[in-house]
């Protein structure tokens, strides 16, 4: 639990500064938060390889109550075994995409990945249903009914599926995003 930020060398910081949308303070803060979560005492924290498991990661207060926390971790994880664990660099990636200065292009790209539950590159009906369920359902009795869900998905597809192939692909999604100006300000996680 080495909470000191000196482990992150200056070169590393400036490199990360160049590769992400984060400022120096944000990177150092991210490192601090990351090392607080990092529990593995056997090995010291290495920004590239040391990973925090998904369960632990989702305990981060900024992610804890996010309905997409698992998807977010999985999307940004570069883990070989696909367990959704995050290395520090993955974590920086996450923060960069969710930062204030990230471009709309980046944000919508990652939003698409997060919403694309089965990772098949398009938002099909199942993905959309999952998305809506993530954002609405709390319990069985307040859930949208089957009929409403169908109708809602139809509306969504009608609205965004420009080429009428029954799914929303990335460019269609980005088109939608470009027309909803709230997205940029709301797609944001700040440490």
């Amino acid at each position: 639990m080495g909470g000191n930020t000196s482990q992150l060398s200056k070169e590393n910081v400036s490199e990360y500064q160049e590769l992400t949308f984060l400022t120096k303070q944000e990177i150092l803060l991210a490192y601090k938060r990351f090392s607080e979560l990092y529990e593995d005492r056997r090995s010291s924290l290495d920004p590239r390889t040391s990973r925090i498991p998904l369960q632990k990661m989702t305990e981060l207060p900024e992610l804890r109550s996010n309905p997409f926390k698992h998807r977010i971790c999985r999307v940004f994880s570069t883990s070989e075994v696909k367990d959704g664990s995050l290395s520090f660099e993955d974590f920086l990636d996450l923060l960069s995409a969710f930062s204030d200065s990230a471009t709309l292009e980046i944000k919508s790209h990652y939003a698409f990945c997060i919403f694309d539950d089965d990772n098949d590159g398009t938002l099909n009906r199942k993905d959309l249903e999952k998305l809506i369920n993530h954002l609405t359902s709390e319990s069985e009795d307040t859930k949208l009914t089957r009929n409403e869900m169908e109708q809602l998905i139809n509306n969504i597809l009608e609205e965004s599926d420009i080429d009428k192939d029954g799914t929303v692909n990335l460019s269609e999604f980005q088109h939608v995003i470009s027309r909803s100006p709230d997205f940029v300000s709301s797609f944001k996680i700040v440490l």
Binding site: Q17, E18, L19, T20, T23, K24, Q25, E26, R48, S65, N66, P67, F76, T78, E89, D90, L92, D93, S96, F98, T103, E105, I106, D120, G121, T122, N124, I132, L135, T136, S137, T142, L144, E148, Q151, L152, N155, I156, E159, I162, D163, K164, D165, N169, L170, S171, H175, V176, S178, R179, S180, P181, D182, F183, V184, S186, F187, K188, I189, V190
Partner: protein, 965 residues
Amino acid sequence: MTTYNNSGYLNPAYHDYETLEIDRRTSSKSHHANPYPREAPAWLGVRAPQSPTAQPGGDDASGGRWQEERQGTDESIPLGFISTQPQNPPWQHNLNHTTFQIDPDAHDRSAASQISSSMSANMTLRWRGVSARRLSLFPTGDPSHLFPEDVIRNELDNEEQDLVKELIGLSTVDRIQAVRALPMSVREKKHVRSQVLAFKSSKQSQQRGCCADCSESVSWTFRRFGSGLKAAGQALELWQGTMKEISGRFGTSVLTYFVFLKWLLMFNVLSFLINFGFITVPLLVYDPSPNIPPNVSFRGLEILTGVGYFNYTVMYYGGHSNETFAGQVTYNMQLAYFLTIAIYMVLCGLALIVSMAGSFRSNYVVADPSSDSAWQLLCSWDFNMTNERAVRQRKNNLRVQLKESLSENAQRKLLTLSEELSRLCVHLASWFLSTILALGCGASVYYLCLYEAQMLAADAASWSLLEEAKTLLVPFVVSLINLCVPLFYSLFNKFDHYSSHRRQIYALVVRNVFLKMFILGVLCYYWMDVVAQNVSCWESVVGQALYRLVIVDFLFLMLGSFFGEFLSNVIGTRMLPRIGVPEFDVARNVLELIYAQTLAWIGIYFAPLLPVLQIFKLFLLFYLKKISLTHNCQPPQRTGRAAQMQTIFTALLFFPFFVGALSIVAYTSWSLTPSENCGPFRGLNNSFGAVAVWIHTLEDISGSQWVIWIYQKIIKSPIFYFIVTLIILMFIYVFWQVTLGRKELIALLRKQIVKEGKDKMFLLEKLHSLQTSHPNATNKQANQQQRIGQFSDRRSPGSQSNSSALVQALLARQQFEGDLSGGVPVPADISTSSGLIQAMLAYQRAEDLNEDLYRMPDGRLSSFAPLPPPTRPRDEDRGTAGGPGDPVHAPGALEQAMQARQRAEGADDLSSSAVMMQVIQARQQEERLQWTPGPPHNPAPSGSSALIQAMLARQQAQNEFDDGY
């Protein structure tokens, strides 16, 4: 590289999605331009023998350098990249790179011709293409059975090469931006960056000059400095934690209010700094003690009323002198006062216009005109939210909103005429009532002001406390109106239903704006018309009135938010749970802020230090509202459109309010006579006269003729303004036309996309029906897939050549099957069966060859060497197949295929690319065989080529569409 080069090449998805996109951008890859596999052997046949010779001699030093570089960087590439060709000796890498690489000069040219700002967009487009392409063709099911992982990965590597090349052509700053904007993980970005940097440094080491060195280090320093500044700005940012807390609990829409407040605070700090620095400080330096009459003392009530003691300080207009201070430097107070106010107003106006225009561009113009659509609701989910309860609440609200959007959609169609009429009546009635109310308020304020004017006629210095307190009457009433009437308006809104929530809010906002405008208009009229004529030193009196208004408004804001929200919270939780906890009404609160700011702007001329008051006010208000919010309010039920509301607020702040304040200040300084006995402009006809006087003094000084010329010919000449106005109108007209044109273009492109989408669906359906119409075929396919799986399991994941060959064989077979099912007429059955045989053979051959390849430990001489032979039988075949319905051609083709197979088995040094070429030929032969018996009888092959063409067309259209956006 040859291998994956070709595999990408033969992969139909590659043609469908990427080729055009790349080729349109970089001229360098012209050999990719022809996507038809039919003609592919032609260029390979021609080009292949050339490339080994072209490489050493043909390319000049730059090409060679690139190669070295490539080789160098290849070693730093992760394992997966190298393992794609474990058998290839390094020099073959070089060869392949030459065939694929671009001429750096050509690339530079193409890169330079692109607008650098659009680069990142292009690049992300392309990267988007990678993932989308993989899947867009196969909406049903997993595509991996057609395109094994290796193939895909190799294409990704190809992409990476292109990306690196593109990045090399950029300037440093652009490159950093572009790398940042890549949707990749940090590790991948690092890899790309190291490749680019390595190339750059090698290039530099050859042409390193002092100048380049210098500029590099300077730009590096600047970047460092920029990022340092950014970081410092971030560290200094006010209320960061509080803002985060608010957005975590209440979401972005409530945060809008606080952001707006902070923004206004910045305006006032700027205003204070300017006014204090250029007006107050010089005055205090030269004349530190205010000349207060002996009978005036500080009584305490001044803090509220602003009269008495304050009247003689620098707080108001009257406290300023008209002298030119002559110390070490002469300081013309008149001019300073006038110019400071004017410059501040201009700065404010510019800042407002810039922020308003930017916010309109990003938030309003592009936004969907259709109201609360489901997507909009889903997309505006707040990732900021960190509070568990708030998230739950938000989810519930979202569910309600989604349901409403459904019912709204259903409802919209069911509105009858009578309902429409009654709704219209309600609208009219509520608008009428609210306008009457606003007018009434304005009138009452005016009469109250006239009453106050009688009192002002008496000497203010001899006022008793009660008389002084009476001056608070007008501000009190005005603030009361501002507090209560909006509540009435909200009540109207309960009855007055609009088709959308947004319109409802707009109606409310417009009514409130009218009210505030009426009141301010009446007050200004009173000041300009009544006070200015009747009172001596009237500017100070107006300043005092504004001071009182600001103070009392603040008190009412405090009371209103504390008691309004606190009481309704108590009522909502304890007594009438039906009402519930109040929501934070962003629109009303922001309008209050706008009103307060307008007062400060108007007051800037009459009381230059009013911004100080405003700063305190806003600062306290922030904490007050935050406390009130966290204790009394719940997150708003209806969310979304926060960005648009913010745009509207900015626009409102600019248009009626700032422009109104500006025109009042301008009117005052141009048309009204300043008071005779006090203030900096005493003795002048108007405040602008200060400039005229200054110009007059300049006439004696030589070398200042140009200033006089500017003053005479530009500032004072109406013709100049007339011409400027004309030019601006012209520009507006042109831009308006351009906008109209763009709109039309967008509509056209949209239609085109829809059309192409239909085409794609049609073709996909056809493909799908072909795939599924043969159950035994699918069985075989499954079988083969299994085998593919075995292969890829057995071998290293990098050995993509065999699997891509398999894919090709599969494709050939599928196509043939498609032809089979496509209603093939009688004479074709021989040829189809031979086609089947051929495809099977091709498949087997590929398999055999792959095993050979796998067993082969050492490299081969050249990947292109065995290519020429296959072209011969193909020509032969063309000759034999020429006759329509020729029965001989089938055995001929069979034989040939057998030969090809034997050849393939025999030739140990045959590379995988050759295999693929043969497979292609097999496929083409088969196609041609189908085709030759008589095109009118057999539509299937032409259909398949039409398929390719249609897909290409669609691709192109999509590219154009993307570029257009």
